[in-house]
C-alpha cells in the first residue's frame, strides 16, 4: 500500500480522518496512513514544510495561508470546515451570574481568549463590531486547556472560546452562551455564511510527486465527509478514542460543517476569501493571498 504520513491535531475538527481510517476508506484506496499527533498549527505547518508529513488533517486556514506565503502550495486544502451560528465552534460565553445579555454588555469585563494572534484578532474584531473599543475590556489569551477551569473559578467574566470548552463550561453551569458563529456574523456580515477557519491540507510536494495517491487520499476523505454529513450520529463514536472527548460529551458535542473543496459554492469561496483578506487587514497575514490558488478539487 502507499504510505501517507498524516499530522493529526486530536480535536473534533479532525473527525474525517478518524472516520476514513477506522471505516477502512483509506485501505480501500490502497493507502496506509501513519499518524503523528501534533498539537497546534505551527507543528503541523512545520511538518508540511519540512516534508515530515504529507497531510495535515486539520490545519487552521490562516496558518496554512501563512505557510503558502512563505512557500507557495505547501498547504493546499482539499477540504475545509465551515463554522457559523448553526455549526458552532467559536463563541462568546459569559459567567452564569454575569448580567450581560449580549456581547455589547461586556464593557469593563475581563475576557479570556483562545490563544494565538488569529483568535485574539477575531475576538477584538467581534468586540469592536459590538461597539466595544480597546480599553473597554481586558482581553487575555489563555491556553485552551485552561478555559473551563478559568471560567469555573470565575477568574474571567467572559470568554471567547472554542468547542468543546464552551459546551463543557455551559454544561457545568459555570457559563451561559452569549453568541456563537460570531465570525460569520460580525466579520463576514452574515450569520449563516460559512467561516472556513480550518481544513485538511496536503503538501504541494505530495500532490506533485504522487498525484495519484493524493487523489485516492482525497477520495477516501470525501467518503468520510459524506458519512459525517449524512449520518452525524453514527460517526460521533470515532471522537471518543481519538480526541480530547469523553463518552459523555461525544453524543452532544457540536459539529462543524465539513465540506470537500469540490462542493464549495461561489458564495463559500467568496466568504473564504473575505475571511483571509480580513486576516491580512488585521496584520496576521503579511500579504493577502488568493485562496483559490491553494484549494484543490478532486
Amino acid at each position: 500500500a502507499d504510505q501517507v504520513k498524516v499530522g493529526v491535531f486530536p480535536v473534533s475538527s479532525s473527525l474525517p480522518y478518524f472516520v476514513a481510517k477506522e471505516r477502512g476508506y483509506f485501505a480501500d484506496e490502497g493507502i496506509e496512513t501513519e499518524a503523528a499527533t501534533l498539537i497546534g498549527g505551527p507543528a503541523l505547518l512545520g511538518g508540511l514544510i519540512s516534508g515530515q508529513i504529507d497531510v495535515a488533517a486539520n490545519l487552521v486556514t490562516i496558518e496554512g495561508m501563512n505557510g503558502n506565503i512563505l512557500k507557495p502550495g505547501v498547504a493546499t486544502y482539499i477540504a475545509v470546515n465551515g463554522q457559523n451560528a448553526e455549526w458552532q465552534m467559536e463563541q462568546f460565553v459569559v459567567g452564569a451570574d454575569h448580567p450581560a445579555k449580549s456581547i455589547a454588555d461586556l464593557k469593563g469585563a475581563k475576557i479570556l481568549s483562545a490563544p494565538g494572534p488569529a483568535n485574539l484578532a477575531m475576538a477584538k474584531a467581534v468586540l469592536a463590531a459590538n461597539g466595544l473599543k480597546e480599553g473597554d475590556y481586558q482581553l487575555d489569551q489563555v491556553d485552551m486547556g485552561q478555559h473551563v477551569g478559568a471560567l469555573q473559578a470565575g477568574t474571567f467574566d467572559a470568554g471567547y472560546t472554542l468547542e468543546p470548552a464552551g459546551m463543557i463550561s455551559v454544561n457545568l453551569g459555570a457559563t451561559r452562551l452569549l453568541e456563537a458563529g460570531i465570525i460569520s456574523t460580525y466579520v463576514l456580515g452574515d450569520s449563516s455564511a460559512n467561516t472556513f477557519a480550518a481544513g485538511a491540507a496536503l503538501s504541494g510536494e505530495f500532490i506533485e510527486e504522487r498525484p495519484d495517491v493524493a487523489e485516492r487520499f482525497a477520495k477516501a476523505w470525501a467518503r468520510a465527509v459524506d458519512d459525517i454529513q449524512n449520518d452525524t450520529e453514527s460517526v460521533r463514536k470515532h471522537l471518543i478514542e481519538n480526541t480530547f472527548t469523553s463518552a459523555e460529551i461525544a453524543p452532544v458535542i457540536p459539529m462543524v460543517n465539513y465540506q470537500m473543496v469540490s462542493d464549495l459554492s461561489d458564495d463559500d469561496l467568496g466568504n473564504f476569501q473575505k475571511f483571509i483578506d480580513f486576516a491580512h487587514q488585521e496584520g496576521i497575514l503579511k500579504e493577502t493571498v488568493d485562496v483559490k490558488g491553494f484549494l484543490k478539487e478532486y
Binding site: 503523528a36 499527533t37 498539537i39 505551527p42 507543528a43 515530515q52 486547556g145 480530547f244 460529551i249
Partner: protein, 251 residues
C-alpha cells in the same frame, strides 16, 4: 538515628493531606476545581489498576528511560573527553551554559524541525536537556579528579590513556551520578511537557492535558501525583544505584 525517624516523612504527608482537606472542606476553592484527597486517590487507584493511567505511566517511563540512556551514551564520554582538557572545556563551556539556561520547551520548535514529528522528538529534546546537565557534571568531575591519584597512577607507570580510564573515569563517577540524577529529573519534566504540548496519544503529560480538556479534575490530579511519584522514584533509583556503584563516594 532511632527507628522513629523512619516515620517522620509520614508527618509531612499527613500535614499535606490535612491542608488539602481543609482547603476542600472550607470551599476556599470550588470543589469542582479541587477534588478531595479521597477522590484523587480513588482516581489514582482506578487508573493504575487496569485503567489507562498505568499505560500512560509506563509510556512516560519508557520515554524518559530512552532519553536518559541516549543522554548518558553521548554526554558521559564527551564529558570525559572535554573534562580531560581544561582549555577544551573552557571553549565549550559558554555554549553548554547557554543552552542549559535556555528553557527546553523553547527548543521544541527547533527540534521538531530537525528531528521530525514522531515520538523521537520528545525523547530527543529530553535527551538534549539531560545531556547538557550530565555533560557539565561529568566534565567537572573529571576536571576535579584528585591530582594525587593521577600522580600516583603516573608514578606507577600508567600511560596517559590508562590514567584516563583507570583514574579520571572513576574519579568522575560521584559527580556523574549527580548529573544523572539532575538529568533524569529534567528529562522527565521535558517529556511530560512535550506530551502535554507537542502532542501525543499517551503518557502522563497527555493524560494531564486530556483530563484538563475534559475537565475531569480527579483524573487530572491523579496524573499529576503519579508524575510527582515517578520523579521521586527516578531520583530514588539513581540514589540507590549510586550507593551501589559508587560505594566509595563521600567516604
Amino acid at each position: 538515628m532511632k527507628i522513629g525517624t523512619k516515620f517522620y516523612p509520614l508527618f509531612g504527608v499527613l500535614g499535606l493531606v490535612v491542608v488539602w482537606y481543609l482547603g476542600v472542606l472550607s470551599e476556599i476553592v470550588d470543589p469542582i476545581l479541587l477534588p478531595s484527597p479521597g477522590q484523587t486517590l480513588a482516581a489514582i487507584y482506578n487508573g493504575m489498576v487496569g485503567g489507562e493511567l498505568l499505560f500512560d505511566f509506563l509510556r512516560t517511563i519508557e520515554r524518559t528511560a530512552y532519553s536518559i540512556l541516549i543522554a548518558s551514551v553521548i554526554a558521559i564520554p564527551l564529558g570525559i573527553f572535554l573534562g580531560s582538557s581544561e582549555n577544551l572545556y573552557r571553549s565549550v563551556e559558554f555554549v553548554v551554559d547557554f543552552f542549559r539556561s535556555t528553557p527546553a520547551s523553547a527548543l521544541f520548535p527547533l527540534f521538531l524541525v530537525i528531528f521530525g514529528v514522531g515520538d523521537q522528538t520528545k525523547i530527543l529534546v529530553a535527551s538534549f536537556g539531560a545531556a547538557l546537565v550530565i555533560l557539565f557534571n561529568v566534565a567537572y568531575g573529571v576536571m576535579n579528579a584528585r591530582e594525587t591519584r593521577l600522580l600516583a597512577a603516573k608514578v606507577m607507570g600508567a600511560s596517559r590513556f590508562r590514567v584516563l580510564t583507570d583514574v579520571m573515569l572513576m574519579e568522575s563517577m560521584p559527580q556523574t551520578f549527580v548529573g544523572l540524577r539532575n538529568g533524569v529529573s529534567l528529562a522527565l519534566v521535558i517529556v511530560i511537557v512535550a506530551e502535554m504540548f507537542i502532542g501525543s496519544v499517551d503518557g502522563l503529560g497527555y493524560r494531564v492535558i486530556n483530563a484538563q480538556m475534559l475537565f475531569q479534575m480527579p483524573d487530572m490530579y491523579a496524573a499529576i501525583f503519579v508524575s510527582g511519584a515517578l520523579g521521586y522514584g527516578f531520583n530514588l533509583l539513581f540514589l540507590t544505584l549510586e550507593k551501589r556503584f559508587v560505594h566509595w563516594s563521600g567516604k
